[in-house]
Amino acid sequence: MIKRTPLQSAFIVVNTAVLAALALVTLYPLLYVVLASFSNPTLFAKHTGPLFWTQGFSLDAYKVVLEKPEILTGYGNTLFYVIVGTAVNMAFTISLAYVTSRPGLLLNKPIMLLIIFTMYFNGGLIPTYLLVQDLGLVDTRWAPILPTAISTFNLIILRTGFAGVPASLEEAAKIDGASPFRIMVKIIFPLAMPTIAVIILYYAVQHWNSWFQEMIYLRNDDLYPLQLFLRQILIENQQDDMVMATKTADQQALGEIIKYSTIIVSTVPILLVYPFLQKYFTKGVMIGAVKG
């Protein structure tokens, strides 16, 4: 048993207290949203100060939210962008990362220069927008997918992962007459799977959260991802409410709770999946980083 001086004991107490306070402060806003979302609108509107439990209990707001067509459309579209988008991301990123990770290809150096240069300089928002418009992608399902098909950052991580696969394995397959595509799929993929999994996650999360380019490129709200509907419900309506108070007190009260339940409905799925992903994610990064 280690003996502690009073000073050390005091330090441990203070340290623990500060960390506990930090955890509480971080958690409370989320807790507040949860409690408010189950509250009775009228009681909540009358309530001032922090919430320690729900004010009354009501699921009315959840009923409204779950019946909103936007939420369903948004989830459907987001699912499309996450699945198809990530598939496109991976197809483009993997193949380029594979080729540039192979030693002995003369053109790899110029190709990498071409890629790295884009980390230093880019055309900017407007020229990109005009290009996407000229290509006829505006207001199509491809607008949130194609212009961001490769993230250079992810490409380089993946390339580093691929470079860690011993060249001797590949040589053996080559002698057996395997094509580069076959080598990539049969030899490199299984060995670099952890890194690939991590990149899949990076891309998927990026699509899930993305709203800015969707806002720019999409006009038709049948194509909107969940995040854009959330922006309408949580932010734009709020500003409208500030300008004109056209709603009755009851409607306003319910509207307030609807916001909280919308946050829960849109966030809980990702928070539920996260612990499981987290495990895979950490396991994956470990092996991918052996060669760094």
Binding site: T26, N122, I216
Partner: protein, 364 residues
């Protein structure tokens, strides 16, 4: 312990990107040197020795031969790279060509080439407008505040977590502080907007503490920066501490034991062992951070600001967005974007330069 270790790779990934960038810029420089040498030797050859020119031509031809052989042998591999290359050429280099509209008065019918050229007028308009000073200083100030508050916070958290011996407590604090990282920006901003509205919980708290009525906080320009920075700390403190925890977990326990035998207390150990041990990580993260100043996204600003508080809230990227996409001043906006990209390029280059300079001594 395990969680700490498993995160190391994130850092490695970041490192590998930096190494890559560094290697490539070395390549660029080397290329430049070669071209220079060639030009000089070429001049000499022309004036003095004709036969050497022929030899040079021969070299060139054989280089082409080697390249052709490489293409013949590896064409099927190169074919795999084609989709990715096409992506880069269209979506990355296309806009670089499109940035020419910064020098003309773009009209949709005229396109990039047939709109009237106006030289540097767009730049003059921007630099001459009152917006220039406003968005520029707002960008600098916001970034400075973010650096001062959001950069040290995760380091301090990591140092504190590192002292915790009860694993369950450490894990709990970590899990809770990571949570905001997994909530989308739109939802985060939705919560901020709600909490700071007239009757929002944060407004209520502030009213209670100061005894006044602050009304809607986000319609008060002076409140924008505190709200932005504090919420940013809330969002990032946990997730950003991972990298430092990983660096600390990598420190040799023997160093601590030795320090303890020498009679160093906790505080001494902190300054003599822990801080020097993570210094390289801190410096690299700082450099990366400074390198990304100009690319501070418009996301959060656009979600949080409104006309009333533009004077403090409007930054370069949100200005570009508003001018270009809301008012269709394409050329002016592209010009501002070009200025931004230029500054960004210099910052990335400097960041890269310093990280190389620094890392030669310590990292890779």
């Amino acid at each position: 312990m395990q969680t700490d270790f498993t995160y190391c790779p994130l850092q490695t990934a970041e490192k590998s990107v930096m190494v890559e960038v560094e290697r490539m810029s070395e390549g660029l420089i080397a290329c430049g040197k070669k071209i220079e040498e060639k030009e000089w030797s070429g001049m000499d050859l022309k004036t003095h020795d004709g036969s050497a020119v022929l030899a040079e031509k021969g070299k060139f031809a054989s280089a082409m031969d080697i390249l052709a052989r490489d293409l013949r042998r590896n064409w099927s591999t190169y074919l795999l790279a084609l989709p990715g290359l096409v992506f880069y050429i269209i979506f990355m280099y296309g806009p670089m060509y499109g940035v020419l509209i910064a020098f003309n008065d773009y009209t949709p019918s005229g396109g990039i080439w047939n709109s009237p050229w106006v030289g540097l007028d767009n730049f003059r308009e921007f630099f001459g407008s009152p917006f220039f000073g406003r968005v520029f200083s707002n960008t600098i100030i916001l970034n400075f505040l973010l650096l001062v508050f959001t950069f040290p916070a995760p380091i301090i958290l990591a140092l504190m977590l590192n002292e915790v011996r009860a694993m369950w407590f450490k894990k709990t604090v970590q899990t809770i502080t990571y949570l905001p990282h997994f909530i989308s920006m739109v939802v985060i901003c939705g919560m901020i907007v709600d909490f700071t509205s007239n009757r929002g919980i944060i407004t209520q708290l502030l009213n209670f503490l100061t005894g006044g009525d602050h009304g809607n906080l986000l319609s008060n320009a002076n409140m924008f920066r505190p709200i932005y920075v504090i919420s940013e700390v809330w969002q990032k403190i946990g997730w950003d501490s991972i990298i430092y925890l990983a660096a600390m977990a990598g420190l040799d326990m023997e160093l601590y034991e030795a320090a303890e035998i020498d009679g160093a207390g906790k505080i001494r150990q902190l300054f003599a062992v822990t801080l020097p041990g993570i210094a390289s990580t801190v410096v690299i993260m700082l450099i990366l951070r400074i390198g990304s100043i100009m690319s501070l996204g418009a996301d959060k600003v656009i979600l949080l600001y409104n006309e009333v508080i533009y004077e403090k809230a409007d930054i370069i990227s949100s200005y570009i967005y508003r001018q270009g996409l809301q008012r269709s001043n394409y050329s002016l906006s592209a010009a501002v974007g070009l200025v931004n990209s230029g500054i960004n390029c210099v910052l990335v280059f400097l960041a890269n330069f310093f990280s190389r300079k620094f890392s030669e001594n310590s990292l890779w």
